[in-house]
Amino acid sequence: MNSQSNISTQVQHKWLNVVNLLKAPSIILLLVWMIVPLSMTVYYSFVEYNLLYPGPKLFIGLENYSYFSTDSAFFPALFNTLVLVGSVLTITVVLGLALALLVNQPFFGRGVVRVLLISPFFIMPTVNALIWKNMMMDPNYGIFSVIADFFNVVPINFLEDLPLASIILMVSWQWTPFALLIFMTSLQSQDTEQKEAAQLDGAGFWSIFRFLTLPHLARPIAIVVMIQTIFHLSLFAEIFVTTGGGPGFASTNLAWLIYRQAFLAFDVGVASAGGVFAIILANIVAFFLIRAVGKNLTE
């Protein structure tokens, strides 16, 4: 008995080394991928560094930070970032749920309908933005203006008048299928007997949804929220292709503001300070999100 447990601890000890060896690469690589650029960003954020004026990088304390945060675009950008993430999350989760319930019903050609519905998820963000900008939202030739003409309404110039809403529409169009895909799959695993029993007891659609379906979907919803937040906090391609952050700062998010500082004003110092702000914001969001969702995920 004793010797056996000795052997097993020995074996375990040998195993532990192998196990750690296997775990190490992913951890080390991610650590390097995080720490090296991060420390460079932090360093640049404290020095005067503009690509247009080469010279010694002087330590200037928090000047870059105060410059970035007093930029008149700073608060709009912060606000837009949060509005963008919040709206897209709400729209995609609600619409994704509704669509998942719909395609969970039996009807003819359900397979094809599903394929059509999930397709936007596979579209490149740059293509997505171009389709909507040109063929849907163009104030002269776009489909929306054709519809408006048909009803004798003055067509809206979407990207000029409603830039942020337009981008929210594009992103939601792309990510609703993602929510749908996940909800659809988890609905299929719902206990049908339980549902039938509830129906026999006289439960209506809403109470079944509220007390059986929604709790069943808690975890999938958490996943959808988490993954999407990760992607939308640094949304870039759609803005790059359509509005360029404008008009004014109406569709500027934090990512775009930093990009503008770095690659249009060539001010590495200020852009890096912006990068640090973006990282702090992401960490605040991550903290709440991981506390709310992460527990749900690791259980």
């Binding site: 650029p37 460079m40 490149m124 063929m135 895909l181 990760i230 890096s272 990068g275 992401a282």
Partner: protein, 278 residues
């Protein structure tokens, strides 16, 4: 007129069906319209009212290939997506396996930390990465993109694989060990066959994300290593209306991954749900 139950069921069946088809067609319309526009001439593309029937032309496709060398960009997309995905899988499979089967005290914290690195916005580290790439003389090369794509998707792949591996019942492994199976046998005959589904779906998602990735491709590449996403972004400047050509380029850029996605949708979902669906 009163309907009996089965008649009423048929009515709701058809009503649901019609409604679902309507919604699906509306949501699919932008893609359909893009494909239709790509087969029109530039004048037909902007005709008012929009043309639903026209003589199809393939000129746009030929022009796109001739003018901007579509195939070069397509191969860059292919190399970077496949390269990035394979690299990420090579790193992630052993790690996720070790974490799922031999979890340590901090495994869960490490996994959460990994996911939190995804929250770091790419712009926050754009300048350092750009400078490192420049110092290495690797701007406009596919190699940094492959590495970045791999690292970018590593956390999500780790999560998907971890949750997938965790579902594999450990009893099977113990039984095999009792029967004298070596670790290699274990991996080859039990773990691998059971995990192909998870590895495939993690790989699929990673392929799609890499193929569509625009931020790093736009920033770090130009004409040599440009991917399709970057090529399409270069069409965004409003130099007159050439929707038909843009549509042809877009259709060619998206078609491979859409068709791929259609075929693999079941496989894709399996891992995407992070074990949420039992």
């Amino acid at each position: 007129m009163m309907l009996n139950i089965s008649q009423r069921k048929t009515v709701t069946h058809w009503a649901t069906g019609l409604f679902a088809w309507l919604v699906a067609l509306i949501l699919f319309f932008p893609i359909l319209w893009m494909i239709m526009t790509s087969f029109k001439t530039e004048l037909q593309a902007i005709s008012q009212p929009p043309l639903l029937f026209w003589e199809t032309t393939f000129d746009n496709y030929i022009l796109i290939q001739e003018r901007s060398d579509y195939l070069k960009y397509a191969f860059n997309s292919l190399y970077t997506s496949v390269g990035g995905t394979l690299l990420a899988l090579i790193i992630a499979v052993p790690s996720a396996y070790a974490m799922a089967f031999f979890p340590g005290k901090y495994t869960k914290d490490i996994l959460l930390w990994m996911l939190s690195t995804k929250m770091l916005p790419a712009v926050g580290v754009l300048i350092p990465i750009y400078m490192i790439t420049q110092m290495g003389g690797l701007l406009d090369s596919i190699y940094p993109l492959i590495l970045i794509f791999a690292l970018m998707n590593l956390p999500i792949i780790m999560w998907m694989l971890f949750t997938y591996f965790k579902e594999i019942p450990k009893e099977i492994l113990e039984a095999a060990r009792m029967d004298g199976a070596t670790t290699r046998d274990e991996l080859r005959h039990i773990v691998m066959p059971l995990s192909w589904g998870g590895i495939a779906s993690a790989g699929l998602l990673s392929l799609i994300l890499c193929w569509n990735e625009a931020f790093w491709s736009i920033q770090l590449t130009a004409s040599d290593a440009g991917t399709l996403a970057a090529l399409i972004a270069s069409y965004s400047s409003p130099e007159g209306l050439f929707w038909a050509k843009v549509s042809a380029a877009s259709t060619m850029a998206c078609a491979p991954i859409i068709v791929f996605g259609w075929f693999c949708q079941k496989q894709l979902v399996q891992g995407l749900t992070f074990g949420a669906v039992k």
